[in-house]
Symmetry: C2
Subunit: 299 residues, 2 copies
């Protein structure tokens, strides 16, 4: 397949692919979610079943002439449970949260009896970023779900980022394991974790890919910086993806890029039976739509 290099290409890719995904949404009571659902329906990339307060949903005036199904359940926790049940019963391919807190939808996902997290799986968030003027996307984890990933969680984060890269047509993704320096120092366990992860990658445990770290954000993207520092990084300043050592650094990258560089982002939680779209209130309409399109591409 051709590599998807921006969010516009993403929509075309899904439509050409011909597989219309079914999305179960919990509580789309806000106009931002409703707009994104409307756009995705109109463009024909997905069909929707909306679980929530029907009166609130109808009052948004977005869904009138669209092929969406509504299930009236005014209680938000019950609505979340119903959306999760739709996934469990094979009636939907993707889960999405509307205007309920992330904690509430996670509770439904993690529920031991009725949830959709396979035993032993790690839930983690992958963000895809489109930067104006940049000729390809940036994939990263985890800016939202795992605060301080341990070694096992870092492995999963790498696997999820690689999966997304490959589903976007990048055959040999290049991933930077982010630290504040390229020096390895046992005082900073992230740096020694990274050494082990790079060894695993070199043995082929993550499939065809290039992993390098510890490396700083600039060196991951700029060959000139690597040259000045005397670092011979296999990324060659051409990273596709980034693994962040903690939620603070991931969040700073994401917020800095969206504000100062007008980057657009799409995000999805992986690890459950299906991708979960948990776009937040602060996200733009474009971002919410792109998150839906991202989930459709990788599910």
């Amino acid at each position: 397949m051709e590599t998807i290099r921006n969010f516009d290409q993403l929509t075309g890719h899904i439509i050409n692919n011909g597989k219309v995904k079914r999305i179960a949404v919990a509580c789309p009571h806000d106009s931002h979610s409703a707009d994104a659902i409307k756009l995705a329906s109109e463009r024909g990339i997905a069909t929707f079943t909306l679980f929530g307060d029907e009166a609130k949903m109808r009052s948004l005036g977005c869904f009138d002439n669209l092929p969406v199904t509504m299930v009236n359940e005014p209680d938000i926790d019950k609505a979340a449970a119903l959306a999760v049940k739709a996934i469990k019963d094979g009636e939907a391919d993707i889960l999405m949260k509307g205007s309920i807190n992330t904690d509430n939808i996670l509770k439904a996902i993690l529920n031991k009896e009725h949830g959709i997290l396979p035993k032993g799986n790690v839930l983690s968030h992958v963000t895809v970023m489109e930067v104006p003027g940049r000729e390809k996307l940036i994939f990263m984890s985890d800016v939202a779900v795992i605060p301080y990933p341990n070694f096992e969680q870092k492995q999963q984060m790498i696997k999820y980022v690689l999966k997304c890269c490959r589903d976007f047509g990048i055959e040999r993704p290049k991933i930077g394991l982010i630290h504040f320096t390229e020096k390895v120092n046992p005082k900073f366990p992230n740096s020694t974790d990274y050494v082990q992860l790079v060894e695993m990658a070199n043995k082929g445990e993550f499939g065809d890919c290039v992993l390098d770290g510890p490396i700083d954000v600039r060196t991951a993207f700029d060959e000139e910086t690597a040259r000045i520092k005397g670092i011979n990084s296999p990324l060659g300043g051409d990273a596709d993806g980034l693994i962040f050592p903690n939620i603070e650094s991931g969040n700073v990258f994401y917020k800095t890029m969206t504000y100062f560089c007008r980057a657009e982002i799409a995000g999805v939680v992986l690890g459950a039976q299906c991708p979960v779209v948990i776009a937040s209130r602060g996200d733009s309409r474009v971002s919410k739509y792109s998150s839906i399109a991202l989930a459709c591409t990788i599910s």
Copy 2:
């Protein structure tokens, strides 16, 4: 005084001020340091005493017609110790490192007998950033020296950032205490530290200033984001300075801004008897010169 809004104004401010600072440099054996020293000498903002391998320094061909004094000491640790001694003896106002590792210059600063760290002082790094298109500078700590600041260190970082802001003519600096969300949660001790620090600020313990946190980077700079999130931040999206919770997040901000936004940076270590310029190899010539000018402004 008029507020200094970019690095160009900084040079004019120092020259108008009329106080030429004396800088002791350890091992300026590289062309980047030499260029910056040359520029600062030519512009008349400082005089220099260079401690290092005289043959190496002369071979750079930069210092021939400049008012610099050279002290030949080929051993780098001894050269660092001599530069520190110049500060201790009152013969210089600012310490600067050339091409020796930060660890080596810190060792000389921290030396119990011959060092220049007053007992109980916290060493911390302050970065000043000029972003193309932005109408004022951004001050921040700590992207380089303190990896995981405790409560006491956070207080000092705030004081150092405030001092720099005020020396640049900002009467009531606005400082954002950076976290990945605005929510306070005891599971994340940074967020509870921040609540206490804001209380201290509100009692006037940091002088005239506005502190807000926990807050994310975007919300610190963008009133619209704050509005969408329903946050009434006293920063009003107009932060002058940022305090980072760890070195990874600070480093990500600094590297992201210099690479993606072409920001220029100046940096200085505070807490010792004098400001210490520890610009690194990867820094540009402009950045090294601006770091010298920064140190001249706040010493």
